[in-house]
């Protein structure tokens, strides 16, 4: 591995991220502000199911005042006698009069009024971290690769049953897949949910139900079972908050996924991502990024370097949000057409390359999906080779493939068999990685060099044009998105001079 090329990749990625960071630091979004409100304990929804935080933030935003930050108004309301922040929020949201654009309160007064609630918000995150640390100390964690499985019945109570079963089958991480297109909802549904298509809504109540199920299973098994969900889409940062306080252990969190696959506006989601990652950093949650998805639309042989260059960029973004390398589960995938000659070698090469370039990172590895067919027997074999590469290259987090991938969300039985296969292979080949050396200048090594070189070339280009234009021309996943297109742009606003966000200040280490 040419270390100087690697270093230059990191330099280029840093420059790319810095340019975006400048934009981020000057803007906020409805998502960010709703998150702040949630952090201040604002809770509840109206009889239509519209969350109070949405009504609150929309009202302020409708008056073009959101640039000051929702905290500005909440704090001011406290100064004006609201007995609690919840009450403050309700007054602002439901009050007959429009939000008062001016007033005598100084920024310093407002900040002071929010000092205690801000500490309380941070304390809630820290308490969850503390609880997690305690549990992890008492309960063993499974060895890596951590076996990650999804449950997705649409009904959170069924999900809890499946989650427990998964833990019994050996799962280290359980994800409840979100209902189709939750990404596009500009609010987080409230309460437990029992009707979702393709998955179950991410709600705080649902998080809690699954957390309890996994804790119970963990206690029975004397093993800490991790929980994860999606902090992405239009409510990226709100979900990060909910996950932080409900003690989720991981989060799928990546602006690129939303931009490319959900057609979410890039300005919106870059800003949201930053705030969500600030929370994630504090909550010691492991981020999973979504570069793996690129290979579902682009060819995994031709586009391998796009995954790598995006990982460098994502790493740079994460650093800027205070996320430690140990928290950064960069995503990649086993998506090469299995029928091309030496496909296994190419996968091995890529997996090893990513592992080596990001040695401290809890790399997240995704199974074959795109080339799966309804031949479930063969599909199971395909996953077996994936598992073998996973343990050989010591991927940190491995989402297990399902033999019914091309058919339906996994049944209880599918998941059980997938876990059984992974348990077998991870044990049977436990020390294989330590045993093997790759031939100097062989297919595997040459392929790794080539991918790195291409990633570097791509970063040079993206740095030159800026990431906005790179995305616009389809550099990633062969999907083109315009800077002013996509969903959620209306929710972005420039920060005003008097922008107040004590929570962010604290998370950025300024408080």
């Amino acid at each position: 591995m040419d270390e100087s090329v690697v270093a230059d990749c990191r330099r280029l990625a840093a420059e790319i991220a810095d340019e975006v960071q400048g934009f981020i630091d000057r803007h906020t979004t409805v998502g960010v502000e709703r998150t702040v409100a949630r952090a201040y304990g604002i809770d509840g929804a109206d009889d239509q199911g519209a969350p109070l935080v949405n009504l609150l933030v929309e009202r302020v935003h409708a008056q073009k005042l959101l640039g000051r930050g929702i905290a500005f108004f909440l704090g001011r309301e406290l100064l004006r006698g609201a007995p609690s922040l919840q009450e403050a929020a309700e007054r602002l949201a439901y009050g007959a009069a429009p939000v008062d654009p001016s007033g005598p309160e100084t920024l310093a007064q407002i900040q002071a009024a929010l000092a205690a609630p801000t500490l309380a918000a941070l304390a809630r995150i820290d308490a969850a971290v503390h609880e997690r640390d305690g549990k992890r100390e008492r309960l063993a964690m499974g060895p890596t690769p951590h076996k990650y499985v999804i449950v997705a019945t649409g009904n959170i109570y069924d999900d809890a049953v499946q989650a427990k079963s998964a833990a019994h089958g050996g799962a280290d991480v359980v994800a409840v897949i979100r209902a189709t297109a939750q990404s596009l909802l500009d609010y987080v549904p409230h309460g437990p949910t029992t009707e979702g298509y393709g998955g179950t809504y991410a709600t705080q109540a649902n998080f809690k139900i699954v957390r309890e199920a996994l804790d119970a299973a963990g206690a029975e098994l004397s093993r800490y079972v991790m929980q994860t969900n999606y902090s992405s889409g239009l409510c990226m940062s709100e979900i990060a908050w909910m996950a932080a306080v409900e003690r989720l252990d991981m989060l799928l969190n990546d602006s690129m996924y939303g931009i490319l696959f959900r057609d979410i506006n890039m300005e919106r989601t870059f800003v949201d991502q930053y705030f969500s990652r600030r929370l994630i950093a504090r909550a010691k949650i492991v981020v999973n990024t979504g570069e793996d998805n690129y290979l579902t639309t682009a060819d995994a042989v031709e586009a391998a370097h796009t995954v790598l260059s995006s990982q460098f960029i994502n790493e740079a973004f994460a650093h800027r949000a205070g996320v430690a390398d140990e928290q950064l589960g960069l995503g990649h995938a086993y998506e090469i057409n299995p029928w091309i000659e030496d496909s296994f070698l190419l996968e091995l090469s890529q997996a090893q390359l990513v592992r080596q370039l990001f040695p401290k990172h809890p790399i997240k590895w995704m199974p074959p999906t795109k080339h799966k067919t309804g031949d479930i027997f063969h599909s199971h074999v395909h996953d077996a080779l994936y598992n073998l590469v996973g343990v050989t290259t010591n991927q940190s987090i491995e989402l297990l493939g399902m033999f019914t991938e091309a058919i339906h969300n996994p049944l209880l039985m599918d998941r059980y068999l997938s876990l059984k296969s992974a348990r077998y292979i991870f044990s049977a080949a436990k020390h294989l990685g330590e045993e093997l050396e790759f031939k100097k200048d062989g297919i595997i090594e040459r392929r790794a060099q080539e991918v790195l070189a291409n990633a570097h070339a791509m970063l040079v280009e993206v740095q030159r044009e800026g990431i906005w234009d790179a995305i616009a021309r389809g550099a990633f996943a062969e999907v083109k998105r315009a800077r002013d297109g996509g969903k959620g742009l209306a929710g972005v606003t420039a920060r005003a001079a008097e922008y107040v966000n004590p929570l962010l200040d604290a998370l950025e280490g300024r408080a």
Partner: protein, 262 residues
């Protein structure tokens, strides 16, 4: 396959004619035990499996057991009674398709396509429409004689129809990949209803596609044709070309229905 009315009975085939061998797997909500095993055996027999043999019984979650069963199925199907509508596609290559459109239609065929509803799986529709195509076969964008509008994913039926009307499309192509709780059927049916309500259903060739779609299903839902896994762009192009020529002919000779390749 014999005379259409003479029965052609198919039984399952293991390794000998007529052995009826079939494999099943399923989960029952009961922990493993001799009784559970017998329950699994009886469950399989209820499906018509004789001498059902339970070969695997493993706890796949607290209180749940997964079973594999083999048995000799008593059932059969009569192949001679099965009728499946198949899309009628001449086996033509791109060049010939282009040529026929140029010759017999004389203008570009306008196509609007999308993956509708909350479905975000564009790979299928892109495979058919985009330049790049699928499995080495170029997509409709690469055809001189098609004017292609790929609206991408998550397109609401209303938006799709509006766009089709706006560009004066000849054909609307709908992709649906998510099938959980039959959402693909509902989305598709809703589009047909919308078009009928608007009185424009007959104005368009309406084509449905996706991994769980076939021609039969598409017809049931009120579409003109359905395409499933493995479809190549040229299949769709050939179909559209043929039907456009049919339509042209039908409007030229309104009394006489027919197909372009009689």
């Amino acid at each position: 396959m014999g005379h259409p009315t003479s029965p052609h009975l198919l039984r399952a085939y293991g390794d000998r004619d007529g052995d009826g061998m079939v494999q099943m797997s399923f989960t029952l909500q009961v922990p493993p035990s001799a009784i559970a095993k017998e329950a699994a055996r009886q469950f399989a027999e209820a499906h018509g499996l004789k001498e059902a043999l339970v070969t695997a019984m493993e706890e796949c979650g607290p209180g749940f057991t997964y079973f594999v069963v083999y048995g000799h199925s008593v059932h059969h199907v009569d192949l001679s009674k099965i009728e499946v509508p198949e899309v009628d596609i001449p086996d033509l290559d791109k060049k010939e398709i282009e040529h026929r459109i140029e010759e017999r239609i004389g203008r570009k065929v306008v196509v609007v396509g999308a993956c509708t509803g909350s479905d975000a799986h564009t790979v299928g529709i892109d495979a058919i429409l985009n330049m790049k195509g699928y499995a080495g076969d170029k997509g409709l964008e690469s055809y001189k004689w098609f004017d292609t509008h790929n609206l991408g994913a998550q397109v609401e039926n209303e938006a799709l129809l509006a766009r089709a009307l706006a560009v004066g499309a000849d054909a609307i192509l709908v992709s649906q990949v998510i099938t959980q709780r039959n959402s693909h059927k509902e989305n598709a049916r809703a589009l047909v209803e919308l078009m009928k309500r608007e009185g424009v259903r007959e104005r368009f060739l309406l084509v449905f596609g996706g991994p769980r779609v076939d021609h039969k299903l598409a017809l049931e839902l009120g579409f003109d044709a359905g395409f499933g896994p493995g479809t190549l762009p040229k299949h769709v192009a050939a179909y559209l070309m043929t039907r456009m020529i049919d339509r042209q002919r039908a409007s030229a000779f309104p009394g006489k229905a027919g197909t372009a390749h009689e």
